[in-house]
């Protein structure tokens, strides 16, 4: 029988076509179909990076554009990651057999990915670049270099000079020892109910340990034994450091990093360990806070060091990269002095990896940035260990238990070490 409507048959085929396209699209979308070439024949280099702020993105975009001009055979495709879930996304991508050509990694993750054989050995690049850049220790794992230092980071002690005056001390003068720091924090805490002597990070992953480690290291303690086989936190030095942090917290406020930064800008916090972003944030916000930045204090006169946490952002080339040579070329472009400093100027970063930083007026003429550069020279990176992310979680667990008085300092360290030793006893992830 013929259709009563002349177009019904056509419509039915159109429907089949649409359904077929939908299924095809669905299946096609799920399959790996990324092309290595642009329509005009250029080779695509995929860069995954964490600089998402508009000003930073513009500098990276410009550097990528300059790279394409100098190397017309390449086209750079940039994918943004965030620190909140970037690690998971990278692992998921590697697990799915997908990888970019050039990948920015946090210093804490390098050993993990190197151990899983997910990264390319960059030792030959290291041999050529080691005198030009700083921050190599975090990129060396099992005697090979797996990453190129891009931007380094450290933490310094911010001091509210107005509050220092209010407690009768001289503004701009650093607390050189833990005792002085504690004494001043105590006095400031008594000024007014809403003024606090010290900002304590709590209940915030990946931050708390950075505030405890400076005290541990300055006191001469360490996280792991020299061979990395056991936890070494449960030592007299570890106990002294943790006890000091717990005691200091009595004269401070436990808050998240962003809130502590805000309190500092509101003249409500005397001391606060923070990064270079706070200096930039204060400048941009126009906050009237009078402040200075200082190196970490010594445990006591003539004892220990002024050590802070060192970390950073590194460029790596995944083992599955389809354009490793192009990726290394692009890495060198991003690492060149001009680009590296431009990105710092755009974002307020105080510690680029390029060794000429100390001589550059942008860094040398700013009193706070200068402190960051000095502090970096006395900073230490966490152990380069493939299970560092898990160790870090346990370390933060222990510090939090002590801060919230759930456990005594010795119990917290003992139990943290037991948990870390359990991790260390597990086989490698590869």
């Amino acid at each position: 029988m013929k259709s009563r409507h002349p177009h019904v048959s056509d419509r039915k085929w159109l429907l089949y076509l649409l359904i077929g396209s939908a299924i095809g699209g669905l299946i096609g979308g799920c399959s790996r179909s990324q092309s290595d070439k642009t329509p005009d024949g250029r080779t695509i280099i995929r860069l995954w990076q964490f600089w998402t702020e508009a000003k930073a993105r513009a500098v990276i975009g410009k550097a990528a554009g300059d790279f394409e001009t100098a190397n017309p055979e390449y086209k750079v495709e940039i994918t943004d990651l965030t620190w909140n879930d970037g690690h998971q996304k990278i692992v998921a991508a590697f697990a799915g057999g997908e990888a970019p050509d050039l990948l920015e990694l946090g210093s804490d993750w390098i050993a993990e990915f190197a151990d899983a054989q997910a990264l390319m050995d960059l030792t030959s690049e290291y041999m050529q670049l080691r005198d030009t850049y700083a921050g190599w220790p975090a990129s060396i794992y099992q005697d090979k270099c797996w990453a190129l230092p891009w931007y380094l980071s450290t933490r310094v002690l911010y001091q509210n000079d107005e509050l220092v005056s209010a407690i009768g001390d001289q503004p701009g003068h650093a607390p050189l020892t833990w005792d002085v720091l504690m004494g001043r924090a105590k006095k400031a805490n008594q000024l007014q109910p809403k003024i606090f002597g010290y900002g304590v990070n709590a209940a915030e992953k990946h931050r708390l340990y950075k505030k405890f480690l400076p005290y541990l290291w300055s006191r001469g303690g360490s996280i792991l034994t020299p061979d990395g086989s056991h936890c070494a936190l449960n030592s007299p030095e570890g106990a002294a450091a943790l006890q000091f942090v717990v005691d200091l917290s009595q004269y401070g406020l436990m808050e998240k990093q962003a809130q502590l930064d805000e309190l500092f800008m509101e003249n409500r916090l005397l001391y606060h360990i923070s990064g270079d972003w706070l200096h930039e944030r204060i400048k941009v916000s126009g906050s009237p806070v009078r402040y200075s930045a200082h190196l970490m204090p010594y445990p006591s006169v003539g004892e220990g060091g002024q050590i802070s946490f060192a970390g950073g952002e590194y460029l790596t080339v995944p083992r599955r990269a389809r354009q490793p040579l192009g990726a290394i070329k692009l890495a060198r472009q991003l690492l060149n002095e001009k680009n590296i400093f431009n990105l710092c100027i755009a974002t307020g970063c105080a510690t680029p990896s390029h060794k000429t930083v100390a001589a550059n007026p942008y860094f040398a003429e700013d009193s706070v940035r200068r402190v960051f550069v000095q502090q970096l020279e006395q900073s230490q990176a966490p152990p380069v260990h493939p299970r560092w992310v898990e160790i870090e979680t346990e370390l933060e667990w222990g510090v939090e238990q002590a801060l919230y008085k759930k456990l005594t300092v010795s119990e917290a360290l003992e139990q943290t070490c037991a948990r870390i030793d359990k991790i260390l006893a597990q086989p490698s992830k590869k």
């Binding site: 359904i19 669905l26 692992v91 997910a118 709590a202 209940a203 998240k256 809130q259 992310v389 939090e400």
Partner: protein
């Protein structure tokens, strides 16, 4: 039906079947398989471990603590949200001035992304935040630090936010249920001198029962799966006081990459949710026939 008809039917159903298979059935099956293995996420290799992951989950104190927090969250939010939403729906069902505006206003939090709401509440609950200041001003005992950083108030604070966000949605559901009640029935009851409470018991409640059952089941499942708020606001802290079951699964899967353990924990949670939902169905369906 002829072959051509069968083909047509299959083609029509194909997008749904393919989507269901790829994005629902396959991940479920894959996760079930993973729960019996030790899986190397980087190498892609796996080792059969039988029920070891399930045993590890059941022997883990952290799993039971997380489950307890989830139960507390659910027990604290579901009844409160349901009761308040019902009261709100009854109020919004009256002929009051600005009714449409109120309806839209109460529903607005539901339309806002949970991440955004959570970020706003982080600030509201902080030392500098409005709610913290208000609580202190009203004479409540406030912790020295933010509500979210105090062990005694963190979970409660997340629960309060969840109630605030959810009320509008469930009120809208109840409002839809109330619209199905024949007006003449209510008018007739009024004419015969039935009080407001008698009308509610004899008319509103039986008509609203299916909506209530739906709302309770949906809210219960949602509460047992609470994750985003925890992820954004507390990350399970302080000292693990807000670690819920799904957050526990998440940390196992995406921080420790122990996918076998995480899958086993997720399946156990699935079984628990299914049992609780079934019990709820039985309890609420009981006596329905008699009333109808």
């Amino acid at each position: 039906m002829n072959t051509r008809g069968n083909v047509t039917r299959w083609l029509m159903a194909a997008p749904w079947v393919v989507t269901l298979t790829l994005f629902w059935a396959y991940p479920l099956g894959h996760a079930l398989a993973l729960s019996f293995t030790r899986y190397d996420i980087f190498g892609g290799s796996w080792e059969w471990v039988g029920l070891a992951n399930f045993r590890a989950v059941l022997q883990s104190g952290a799993f039971w603590t997380a489950l307890w927090h989830t139960v507390l969250f659910t027990a604290g939010t579901v009844p409160v949200t349901t009761a308040l939403a019902l009261v709100l729906a009854l109020a919004l069902n009256q002929r009051i001035w600005g009714r449409a505006l109120f309806r839209a206003g109460f529903f607005a939090p539901t339309l806002t992304a949970t991440v955004v709401t959570s970020l706003v509440f982080i600030h509201l609950y902080s030392q500098q935040g409005y709610l913290y200041q208000l609580a202190g001003w009203l004479g409540f005992s406030v912790p020295p630090q933010s509500f979210l950083l105090s062990e005694s108030t963190a979970l409660l604070s997340v629960m309060l936010m969840d109630v605030w966000v959810s009320i509008g949605y469930y009120a809208l559901l109840f409002l839809a249920g109330l619209q199905t009640i024949p007006r003449e029935l209510v008018e007739d009851a009024s004419l015969h001198g039935a009080t407001g409470w008698q009308q509610f018991r004899a008319i509103t409640w039986p008509y609203l029962r299916p909506t209530l059952l739906y709302a309770l089941v949906i809210n219960l499942i949602k509460s047992l799966q609470i994750f985003t708020e925890i992820f954004v606001m507390t990350q399970g802290g302080p000292v693990g006081s807000t670690t819920t079951s799904v957050y526990h699964v998440y940390t196992a899967a995406f921080e420790r990459f122990d996918l076998g353990y995480a899958s086993a924990a997720a399946y156990l949670l699935f079984v628990i949710i299914a049992i609780v939902s079934l019990i709820q169905f039985k309890l609420l369906a009981f006596g329905r026939g008699a009333e109808e």
